[in-house]
């Protein structure tokens, strides 16, 4: 399989924002219970941008650099295997040049700091990201203003931002009625919100689109993802 096909198989192709905001400056949110695969999906989204020759900043709150880097290496390997990608090593080396990881301590993260950091990077011509993923952002402890600030930053920098949020056990029932906590009441800030749910006795993970529509109609609002590579599976039981 070639790089092009790989891009097409990515679940992110099926997600499109609800409002008509510019493709390049929108916010997305991945929700799931602990351990289902938020980081994996975020890395997957980042890899998609990388494969499209775009630059990505990965902001990791509370995780070390090495660990985050491992996520990328592992995910790429899994995807390459899943899709039987040719010359994987070469592609890996070439795209990782466009990725940059910024890690923060839990207590040290602030929007102002991040913005300053990004400005620095752009000024020094180190990287000009078009996509940013923020992993480990604590929604329970932040207020609306911070996210609004992030949204402003996204449109000022022409940036697509994806967040991950941990929701609790009851999320599964809550999602029928609306957006589960801790992000309740914040949904208007995001263009796309998805929920990951493990499916028992299956090798798939359900990706439910809570906000935003699926671009491809036949998939509806539910996508089946491979548990390892997070790519769309067609022959899932």
């Amino acid at each position: 399989m070639l790089k092009q096909e790989l891009i097409e198989k990515n679940p992110i192709r099926h997600l499109k924002g609800e409002s008509d905001a510019k493709e390049s400056s929108r916010m997305g949110l991945v929700m799931a219970r602990a351990g289902v695969g938020k980081t994996a999906l975020l890395v997957q989204i980042a890899l998609d941008s990388l494969l499209n020759d775009k630059q990505v900043v990965h902001v990791s709150v509370g995780q070390s650099l090495d660990k985050t880097k491992l996520w990328y290496d592992d995910m790429f390997k899994d995807i390459a295997e899943f899709c039987k990608l040719e010359n994987a090593g070469e592609i890996h080396d070439s795209i990782m040049h466009n990725r940059m990881i910024i890690t923060f301590n839990e207590s040290k993260f602030s929007r102002a700091k991040l913005e300053e950091r990004l400005h620095d990077l752009m000024q020094q011509n180190v990287i000009k990201p078009s996509c940013m993923v923020v992993d480990g952002f604590d929604f329970a402890k932040t207020d609306r203003a911070v996210l609004e600030g992030m949204r402003d930053m996204a449109s000022a920098m022409n940036l697509q931002i994806w967040f991950s949020a941990v929701c609790d056990e009851e999320a599964d029932c809550q999602c029928a009625t609306g957006i589960p906590s801790p992000c309740k009441g914040l949904e208007d800030l995001f263009n796309t919100i998805v929920l990951l749910q493990p499916v028992s006795q299956s090798d798939c993970i359900d990706l439910k689109i809570l906000k935003g529509s699926a671009a491809v109609s036949k998939c509806g609002k539910l996508l089946k993802l491979d548990t390892k590579s997070f790519m769309i599976r067609e022959n899932c039981k």
């Binding site: 070390s64 990881i101 620095d120 000024q123 180190v126």
Partner: protein, 691 residues
Amino acid sequence: MKDLSKVRNIGISAHIDSGKTTLTERILFYTQRIHAIHEVRGKDGVGAKMDSMELERERGITICSAATYCDWKDHSINIIDTPGHVDFTIEVERALRVLDGAVLILCSVGGVQSQSITVNRQMTRYRVPRVAFINKCDRTGANPDKVIKQLREKLGLNAVPIQVPMGLEGDMQGLIDLVKMKAVYFDGENGDKIRVEEIPAQYKDECDAKREELLDAVSMFSDELMEAVLEGTPTEEMIMAAIRKGTLALEFSPVMMGSAYKNKGVQLLLDAVNDYLPCPTDVDNFALDLDHDEAEVKVSNLPTDPLLALAFKLEDGRYGQLTYVRTYQGTLKKGDSIVNVRTGKKAKVGRLVRMHSDEMEEIEESGSGDIVALFGIDCASGDTFTRGDYNFSMSSMHVPEPVISLSITPIDNKAQDNMSKALNRFTKEDPTFKTYVDAETMETIISGMGELHLDVYVERMKREYKAEVTVGAPQVAYRETITQRADFNYTHKKQTGGSGQFGRVAGYIEPLEEGEYEFVDQIVGGSVPREYIPSCDKGFQKCLEKGSLVGAHVTGVRCAINDGASHAVDSSDIAFQLAAMGGFKEAYMKAKPVIMEPIMKVAVEGPTEFQGSIMGSLNQRRGMIIGTNEEDAYTVIEAEVPLSEMFGYSTDLRSLTQGKAEFTMEFATYRPVPKSVAEELIAKAQKKDKK
């Protein structure tokens, strides 16, 4: 046999100029190892005992003197040098392995400086418990509280003072011990007369508050103390036991203060070393089982178990090679025969001595956990000794391949002799330092792990061995490899008088995922006679030594032969070797060879405000920035940069950041060089060939 609980193996670490030398001088004086105090910059012109090496002072790094030994209140304390420079990965690792605990010295004005951060991080990695000593409390601007705050914020230590100074700067009178709640004065010309009194009234409130804080912090480690605190009856012993417990678990760091120069607080620091730092049995040490893929095995520390000892430092003394060893388990006796695990060689322990800075004391045996020196044992630094019954090693046997080399030329005959002596010594001390003579240019080449690494050795050669050498430009160790499969079918024929040569081999070469070289024999039907198959293997291996692109070592190749032909008379070993070589050369260019260069993992640590310019500088050097990590006011930037671009980086970095940033690098991997660079290298190699 000594009581192990009364032995302390400690390191003293400090930033340049925070008074390490002065403090060590005082420690040696109070423990009666020396009988007069000489100041570092004293008028008597003698200079302090530990201050002997020019290079050490210039660069602010520890190079010489391995271990000093002293006695304090029936405890034996071995003080071991902790090198602070991370470029010498192996040496640092060894020094930290030998330590059980450490004293972190900080200047009360300067506070936590960059080197303290680096050393502290390594100690955390090797789980070394530490106590802090805030020195120079007599200096103008002294502020121990600020330093304690930095210890917490910058180093992430749970630092709590166990003393309160009585007066700071010029009028420092003494210290108040918060455990005993007594004021301590240091009388006499050299501060050696200790006077203990009640706490003066003006300090009473401050002390009560600070003691409260201390009890709060340490009662976490002891339920007994917690209860006693609630009932209002904590005893001295309970507090001390709790402090010790917290310190050993690396969850607490007691902070002491004083002024070594003004002879204040040193004795209390020694008490604290005895009271709070671990003895050899308090610490878990691990050996690597070489029979089981270097699996970690806990050592027992029991003197009755089989011997396990680590040689961690070599010194060229007046009486030959002195080897410092630490025993981890078992007993080392005079007259014993011991086995060097690395070489498998047997040696006899002739003389066993305990070092007392200048003189030495002959001893009969040394128990586990002790540090002693051996005479006349031929070994390298980092070797493990056993009695031959174990195949364990105390330090990893894996030595990374050197990635950078320099040519050195002695300026005269005398220097030549000294140079070879020095090289002989250095290669023994440091397994990552290698030397050889280039067969083509007849130059002596030294190779190591980085620019600074080689720099220090060249400098040492000059100073310690008086070997003046001129140094060539650093060379990066490039490699070549192939990226696709290519077939060959080559016939070697020669018939010019005498017996001819004939051999034909056919097969292919292809990239090998892991490993350097593999030979595959797929001959069926005996088209190449059995006896000549090893000849083909040999021929291929000869080709690997020098690739056709830039003459670098070729790696990652699988060579397979699947057909061939021979002649009953003219075929020979050499004919098939030459045929294989011809075949390899035929296929090599078709297999799209590439040049690989060593990539270093670089970590730059500096104040956050310079982050942008640091990243810019790495970017310029073909660096791939992996990410950044914010640690309070400091930021660590990690990147992968080709070694060839890193020459002179330390100078650049210094001017870019006003000397506030530091970097470390280690070898990461080999990666193909970009096309433009490859073309340049090939052009250069061709030019060299023509000459």
